[in-house]
Symmetry: C2
Amino acid sequence: MSARMKLGVFLWATGHHIAAWRHPKTHVTAGIDIDHYIALARTAEAAKFDMIFCEDAAGLREANVGIASQTSRSIGFEPISLLSALAVQTTRIGLVSTASTSYNEPYGLARTFLSLDHLSGGRAGWNLVTSASPIEAANFGATGLKPHADRYERAREFAEVVTGLWHGKASGHVGQSFSVRDPLDLPSSPQGAPVMVQAGASDVGRDLAARTADVVFTAAQTFEEAKAFYDDLKGRMAAHGREPDDIKIMPGVAPVVAETEAEAREKFEELQELIPDDVGVTLLSSYLSISDLWRYPIDGPLPELPESEGMKSRQALVVEQSRRDGLSIRQLARHFAGARGHWRIVGTAAQVADELQARFEGGAADGFNVMPAYFPGELDAFAALVVPELQRRGLFRMEYEGTTLRAHLGLKRPS
Amino acid sequence: MSARMKLGVFLWATGHHIAAWRHPKTHVTAGIDIDHYIALARTAEAAKFDMIFCEDAAGLREANVGIASQTSRSIGFEPISLLSALAVQTTRIGLVSTASTSYNEPYGLARTFLSLDHLSGGRAGWNLVTSASPIEAANFGATGLKPHADRYERAREFAEVVTGLWHGKASGHVGQSFSVRDPLDLPSSPQGAPVMVQAGASDVGRDLAARTADVVFTAAQTFEEAKAFYDDLKGRMAAHGREPDDIKIMPGVAPVVAETEAEAREKFEELQELIPDDVGVTLLSSYLSISDLWRYPIDGPLPELPESEGMKSRQALVVEQSRRDGLSIRQLARHFAGARGHWRIVGTAAQVADELQARFEGGAADGFNVMPAYFPGELDAFAALVVPELQRRGLFRMEYEGTTLRAHLGLKRPS
């Protein structure tokens, strides 16, 4: 546990709520509006967030193209181009982008992120994903998604080559999947090396994180889930010669905050009522990597799931919640659609801060990746209401301690 | 021939002259100085240039790593991240980046360039290269450079898929090298489609350009070479159902300009004297794709060259010049090192304008890709002296005609 919590803001077009695009205070083309993103980045920087974070997937986000046009992230910038633009419109906040180890090569990826790092004066981070989605595979000439174990074996070597290149040590690498002769055509990073972020929660994903990650994003609905994940991952660090504090664990949180609890609940219900059933069920199908959820009665229970090479840990969370709470497909779809599988808090600034503080001080989180329900409104509300409350409690910085992302996060500068 | 000439500026760290990094008015870390690039882009935009252009190669530029630290472009930003940053620091100028068809996949590349296009309001262009250098191949796990014909076959399909994706027509493509299922997760381009740029000068390269390119960069020392290339390429357009004016041919030009001819010559000689022999010969070796040029007497003639899968047209130009002028290796090295194989003009604004006008009105060029000897000095000089002279003669715009790169270039909006 760090002295003060770390905060990221997860950018996502019109917002993280699945019906954000229907909210009267959003505009549907936000995903390709650079002025929109510049305003969000500046709001987050003024509030002293550690970083902004962009997910990525090179393909249409939902399995059903017809539904894709009805979700909050059907269109959007490619994140490296977006964050490079934001780099020169901000001065302090960290810039973390997702990029896939399945559809890139390590030399090119290492170079691009180090370039972003130099552009921003040492504020770049790479969120490593192995790309679990069959949707992306179909756009990169593959005949099918690679098995989970194969993806992680490639990812392990990929991460080793990338960090080696960042540290000037990978020249001459010849391995199972990659060979690289040259060093990069860039000097070393202003922050030692770009920050390495991961989000894999499977056993092999956790091992890769314990070996190589500086930050881990995770999804945990309950304190117990968050605490179990936290303790497990911190406990794996020693085996890789690292200290528990060398990795920052930041669960996603989807807050809806207002001056009063009633007002917050009203804002949330307004969003929930905007979710069409077909969108909710399609999103749930996508989470579960199964395409035929439509065949089952919407008011009945979740069916037994076939084995999948998709995102195993996420699937397990959904199934567990469904069984625990006895939810129908419709209920589960709406519930998950509202927070995209993340932890939701609806209430006043004090109530939100209480919950964050409990997980932070309870040893279940080093900080949080904030997923505003819609942009800019809910980011504005978090920045105006929750951040000052956290600062008042001494839980969050008043000013940036340094100029690099690694400094914000309190990470050691790599040798 | 267009009514007015088109002008690009080719960005290159400290400058195009091989000794630019030693010039007292440059700084050696210019290649990773974003403020340096922002200033250059704004100078070019104030002078109404059509575009800025970035080359790219994912590897160390020169075969000899020791020499790489002694050249003008040993370090530098990855160009997509650079141009994305420049997109939000400029409002009108076109932004063209090189990217390889050998080390990318078409879905990812089409998406990144369309993202840059949206970021910039329709100002992006892609310079397609097949990556002739064995240096890059060694960083992407290849056991050797692919043969010229194979690279171009891949490039042909790659370009087809990319332009198809930009036009919303490539979903479901299944071809020899690539298969792509989805459309892109971006709406169509503000300019119809990003501008397609090419520079291949071999027979198969010219055919690919005639089929798909909007702009062609080329290297031509003499009027006759430039005219022959121009007529050949324009003559190939009909076979692909296109008009000659659908492609803009822009040879590189390396000017050194001053108020007086004597002053210009003095500036140029100052740069030439800064070229170390070892750097000149190493650069020439790299152009020729042969590694043992050192074995031959530096004051003797160029040896017979082995067959190479490298950049055939460039090699032919060098060999031809060497034989024509009876140059020694040292002389050829210094001569080529000074302009990197491009057309050099040293003189007053009127003299430079005369030469550009002669090639433009003589039907040997639609415009020029300007390669300043060092930055920012020689770009500043060109903008302050040559541009007003061209404008006075009615050869160059006073104001931008539109807001997109396609509008600047006078290209049809693709249907």
